[in-house]
């Protein structure tokens, strides 16, 4: 039997489908269209929400394969790997993509070994090679200094992980239909040698990755005391505050604010960089933003190469002026004519 079809590995928590699944549908739909094949969303869990599964169809899947069991409620390597391996053997997809999440980054390499498949990590770009139909997988390596395109010529399926937030979720077409298969996990699932005893949620989750707009500060902010300049601009834009590694390393903002290769990836509609030089590692976490505005005193700063609008000037002049104009444009207090 030939390998065919594109799969994305959707994720759930507490029975609710997670956003990464919708991002993967964006990637998967493009590949399936190019390859002229079916796109399936595969998901493991227990009592997964019906409407959420239907939404996977509305966002581009042709088929949903939901495998359920109380033992699949949370990610544990052995039951998850056994189920995925069984599906791969039964249905032989050509391409499998997952999120580069703590689940995807653990399950995919484990399964790739046992399926004797090639796996490319952290892809930023996926495409189909015209002549061969091979998956072309492009990823950063060596601290983001290079990009490598990787191919798996002889082994199937071709497997890849994709960084969360490196694409937008697929649009929803209400009423779009397809097939939903709800399957029970295989009865002979081996007992798991790892058990989940407890879960302790993060106290300080801040919505950087969910924000439509982000204001990021770099070392140009000079000291923590100056942060209100950036915060006021962020407030005026309804934006979350992010930072470069240099700012986090100096303790001016905490690690959850860090954007870049060793921090978070963000894809907001608007990204404003204040005193950020635009190192390759920082760009790795924000260059997919829809619109980029940069303020920097150095006319040759790298950040201007990725910006749509660049202001050569001091953030201490530009950010307050912009805050005032934005407030005025939005008819909010604090705008021109009102007290600063």
């Amino acid at each position: 039997m030939q390998h065919s079809g594109v799969w994305i590995l959707a994720e759930q928590q507490g029975g609710r489908v997670q956003r990464i699944s919708h991002e993967l549908l964006t990637r998967g739909r493009a590949l399936a269209d190019k390859r002229g094949c079916e796109l399936a969303a595969v998901i493991f869990g227990n009592r997964i929400d019906d409407a959420d599964l239907a939404e996977l169809l509305e966002r581009g899947a042709d088929r949903v394969i939901a495998m359920e069991s109380p033992r699949l409620e949370h990610f544990l390597i052995e039951p998850y790997a056994a189920c995925l391996l069984k599906l791969l053997a039964d249905r032989r997809p050509e391409i499998v993509i997952a999120g580069a999440t703590t689940t995807g980054r653990t399950l995919m390499p484990y399964v790739a070994i046992l399926a004797h498949a090639g796996l490319t990590a952290d892809c930023t770009e996926l495409d189909i090679e015209e002549k061969t139909g091979n998956l072309l997988q492009t990823r950063p390596a060596i601290g983001g200094n290079i990009l490598a395109t990787i191919k798996t010529p002889r082994h199937r399926p071709q497997m890849a992980t994709v960084r969360p937030r490196s694409t937008r979720p697929a649009d929803r077409t209400p009423g779009r239909v397809g097939e939903i298969e709800r399957l029970a996990a295989p009865a002979d699932l081996p007992p798991s040698r790892v058990r989940r005893v407890d879960f302790v949620p993060n106290a300080d989750e801040h919505g950087l990755q969910d924000a439509d707009a982000v204001v990021a500060v770099g070392r140009g902010i000079k000291k923590a005391d100056n942060l209100p300049v950036a915060r006021k601009l962020a407030d005026a834009l309804g934006a979350a505050l992010g930072a470069t590694r240099d700012v986090v390393d100096r303790g001016w903002l905490s690690y959850p604010h860090q954007i870049g290769l060793s921090g978070k990836t963000v894809t907001p509609r608007l990204y404003v960089a204040l005193g950020v030089s635009g190192s390759i590692q920082h760009l790795a976490g924000m260059q997919t933003a829809e619109t980029i505005v940069a303020v920097n005193t150095d006319p040759d700063a790298q950040i201007f190469r990725v910006a749509d609008v660049g202001i050569v000037g001091s953030l201490f002049d530009v950010a307050p002026a912009l805050t005032v104009k934005l407030r005025a444009a939005q008819g909010k207090p604090g705008g021109e004519g009102t007290e600063r």
Binding site: A81, M108, F199, E205, A213
Partner: protein, 265 residues
């Protein structure tokens, strides 16, 4: 306890050059160090030995000069080390790397834990730890931020995930990959360095391991690097200069106008 720590030697700087034809790294002329994230695995292993007794073995697959990384690991406190070096291993992707490392772990005999780093700073995939576990037929627990206890053939630990941490209990033996939070790596001592210098570190080649030649190196690697290039990220940037009060105001006006045309405000 018997603990195996796979460590990778990586280039010191990020100024690494690539052979664009073969897609492999040119390692000559670049100082090589232990993958910084592996130091946390070494430290965690040494601490477990300090509290439970036993032995820590460092293994590395790489060129002959990876011996330096193994001696450094011994200077930190690893008891023994093995270098896996053979031309046949060259060009391995994570599948083939995991294959050789798992064969070496098998040959080392009984063990309780394999402790890997979260990822290597050069290849940067984080795939080798789970890969070793798969070849050994063992479970893997990734992103371990704390080992709470080891007793009665079980290990209780914290696993760092996106929205918090899981508390997990695993039967031994088991493969773990660890994150920075797990420990604060110690520096090698002078005595450790001297001991490491004199230590006998065996070099195992293909013939010393129970492996099939067709599964090694470039030949045994499902993935192929076909192109390497520098990221190009340029956009067409509209540049405004804001040098005095007037130009600052004009620039701010223009940004507001621009954001309005893009319906961002």
């Amino acid at each position: 306890m018997r603990i195996v720590v796979p460590i990778k030697q990586v280039p010191e700087t990020n100024a690494v050059r690539m052979d664009e034809a073969t897609g492999t790294m040119i390692r000559e002329g670049v100082e090589a160090i232990i993958n910084p994230l592996d130091l946390y695995a070494i430290e965690a292993a040494i601490r477990l030995r300090e509290s439970h007794g036993g032995e820590v073995t460092a293994v590395s697959m790489g060129p002959p000069k990876a011996m330096t990384a193994l001696r450094e690991a011994m200077a930190m406190g690893c008891d023994t080390a093995v270098l896996l070096s053979d031309k046949a291993f060259a060009g391995s992707d994570t599948w083939a790397t995991s294959y050789v490392l798992s064969a070496a772990v098998r040959r080392l005999g009984e063990f309780d834990l394999v402790l890997c780093g979260e990822r290597a700073t050069d290849g940067d995939t984080g795939q080798v730890g789970p890969g070793i576990a798969a070849f050994l037929g063992l479970p893997v627990v990734s992103y371990v931020s704390r080992i709470e206890s080891v007793s009665d053939g079980r290990c209780r630990m914290h696993r760092l995930v996106e929205d918090g941490y899981e508390v997990l209990e695993a039967d031994l033996p088991c493969v773990l990959t660890v994150v920075k939070e797990i420990s604060d790596p110690r520096l090698p001592t002078l005595r450790g360095k001297q001991k490491a210098k004199r230590a006998d570190v065996p070099v195992w080649t293909m013939g010393d391991l129970d492996v099939e030649p067709s599964k090694l190196g470039l030949e045994g690697s499902p993935t192929r690097v076909v192109k390497i290039f520098r990221p190009s990220v340029a956009r067409k940037c509209e540049k405004l200069v804001a040098a005095d009060e007037t130009s600052v105001a004009l620039a701010a006006d223009r940004v507001v106008e621009f954001l309005q045309t893009r319906e961002l405000i």
